[in-house]
């Protein structure tokens, strides 16, 4: 037996200083626990990549005075919605602005994860957590049925704590080592997302996107002629002096069609509706990341003796609503609270940590995940869904607002024809019903 005094000990270990990890560390440190927040990157967020936007309801829940702490947000999301690109270069916009989107602080802000996550981890450090960067966790340490620490790739790198919160991200190596899931996620359940961050002057962004100033920003999902008719979706986010343009395509399609992601992205950037928006911009960063979109059915068991898992590692993503960051933050918070309660009880058994799952069930996280449990399967079995309908919307609106010198009866017949040429009418009705079943539980 080792001499206990020689071991590096904490009250809790968090693996990964992303949104979930730093939230968990913040909650535990505030409650007086001695927390190690271990991050493999040079800095927090250095491995993270998203569209994207961050929801303030989640930030505010963990850190009520977040605005006073000057988060490094980009523009607020003041206009959001969908764009539909047509094959002949057309663009249909369906966005909302004003109303709830005029709230201050905004419901969501554009952000860069490599910048935002540094600030988020700093809040955990200010609460008293110790951030240990440049350290990869390679395994967990067991004592019988109980996790009692982690092995890192540092010399004498074993670190001990009675509770470990794993927020390792989509590549769930530790979650598998914990025995919480016994397989890799299927390529058909993961989106490969890739984007370019393109620098443009602030005034240019304002003019091109119809934004009055840098306190207004646009976030849209882009459908239609984006992902080659394969299950996928594009996005455009406006930062202060850059735009993020990219798309996600289901990984199995990228593999099976032997596609080069950067070619799909370049094709999208050259679409006549997108090219003028990024013209003259300078590439600041290209990158790629996987998104676990398998939903509830792909979620691992969420706890075992001495350990819990949160965020992407637990597939906490609602693909339809592009939610994930908010779930990660709240799940990290709930895991942290569970660890604090376990310390109060002095009981870190699986039974004690099962409280984490109970807390998730009380909140939108497990409720939404369960509600949408069939959605991933729906997309898998309806691969044309993301292609046929956006194409129809473009056609329908295009025809509706064009004077062809034809009777309107013929016009509506044509519009209907435009739908039925893509999808038989009965199948379209079937799509709506199965989508309803998948999302609303009809």
């Amino acid at each position: 037996m080792n001499n206990n005094d020689e071991k590096i000990r904490f009250d809790a270990i968090v693996v990964g200083a992303g949104l979930a990890g730093s939230a968990a560390a913040m909650v535990m440190a505030r409650a007086g626990l001695n927390v190690a927040l271990i991050e493999r990157g040079q800095k927090a967020g250095g491995k993270n990549y998203f569209g994207g936007a961050i929801y303030t309801h989640a930030i505010g829940e963990v850190l009520p005075d977040y605005m006073e702490r000057k988060p490094p947000f980009e523009r607020p999301v003041t206009e959001a919605g969908f764009w539909f690109l047509s094959k002949d270069g057309g663009l249909t916009r369906m966005t909302v602005q004003g109303g709830k989107l005029a709230n201050e602080p905004a419901d969501a802000y554009m952000a860069s994860r490599a910048v935002f996550d540094v600030w988020w981890a700093e809040q955990a450090q200010k609460a008293g957590a110790l951030l240990i960067p440049k350290t990869s966790v390679v395994d967990v340490i067991w004592d019988g049925e109980q996790v009692v620490g982690v092995k890192t790739d540092r010399a004498q790198g074993d670190v001990y704590a009675p509770v470990v919160i794993v927020c390792e991200g989509v590549n769930n190596l530790l979650t598998q080592k914990l025995g919480l899931i016994d397989h890799d996620l299927e390529p058909a359940h993961m989106a490969l997302a890739f984007k370019q961050v393109i620098a443009l002057p602030m005034d240019t962004i304002n003019a091109r996107f119809g934004l009055p100033d840098d306190q207004h920003g646009l976030a849209v999902s882009v459908l239609g002629d984006v992902s080659l008719g394969l299950p996928g979706m594009g996005f455009v986010y406006t930062n202060k002096t850059s735009v993020s343009v990219g798309l996600g395509v289901m990984l199995d399609a990228v593999v099976e069609y032997k596609l080069k992601p950067y070619e799909i992205l370049q094709r999208y950037l050259r679409h006549p509706a997108i090219a003028p928006l990024v013209k003259g911009g300078q590439l600041m960063e290209y990158g790629a990341h996987l998104i676990p979109e398998g939903g509830y059915r792909d979620m691992p068991k969420l706890y075992t003796g001495g350990a819990m898992v949160a965020g992407d590692a637990a597939s906490m993503v609602n693909a339809l609503h592009w939610e994930g960051t908010n779930m990660a933050i709240v799940a990290g918070e709930l895991a942290g609270e569970t660890a604090v309660a376990a310390h109060q009880r002095g009981d870190f058994s699986a039974q004690s940590l099962s409280q984490y799952e109970a807390r998730l069930k009380d909140r939108f996280i497990l409720q939404d995940m369960k509600q949408y449990r069939n959605f991933a399967h729906f997309l898998e079995t309806h691969p044309t869904f993301m292609d046929a309908y956006p194409g129809f919307v473009n056609d329908a609106l295009g025809q509706f607002f064009s004077a062809y010198g034809m009777p309107k009866k013929t016009l509506f017949k044509n519009i209907l024809g435009s739908l039925t040429s893509r999808r038989q009418l009965m199948k379209a009705v079937g799509d709506i019903l199965s989508m309803g079943r998948a999302v609303m539980g009809w």
Binding site: K47, S112, N171, V255, E256, Y257, K258, R267, Y286
Partner: protein
């Protein structure tokens, strides 16, 4: 997606396939910041004989940063230095023939924006 020897490829309609522009991936990689581990690769081919048997070698295409390419001797070569650690090859290789580990702490891609 079928795996192993049952893996097969699909083809896009010709018009769509031809609409894909040629992109030189290195032009994109220059925008990325890396701390390169000169001593060891975090990506390894488990068994080169399996790659030799793999008819379609989709990794050469689907890796978003072009880590995998065919060497003159017909072997798959691994430019791990360009890896952004997305994990696509870890789960996407039809033969699960890639040993994917995390780069040592501090090494690998270091996103500036993310």
């Amino acid at each position: 997606m079928k795996t192993g020897d049952a893996f097969s490829v699909k083809t896009l309609p010709q018009e769509l396939q031809e609409s894909l522009p040629d992109v030189y991936v290195d032009d994109l990689l220059v925008s990325l910041k890396y701390f390169i581990d000169e001593e060891q690769s975090h990506l390894k081919i488990k068994d080169h004989a399996v790659c030799a048997r793999c008819e379609h070698k989709p990794c050469i295409d689907f890796c978003p940063v072009g880590v995998y390419s065919l060497a003159h001797d017909g072997k798959i070569q691994v430019a791990y230095q360009a890896c952004v650690e997305c994990g696509s090859c870890r789960v996407g290789c039809p033969y699960k023939n890639i040993e994917w580990t995390l780069p040592r702490g501090g090494f690998g891609v270091a996103y500036k924006f993310g």
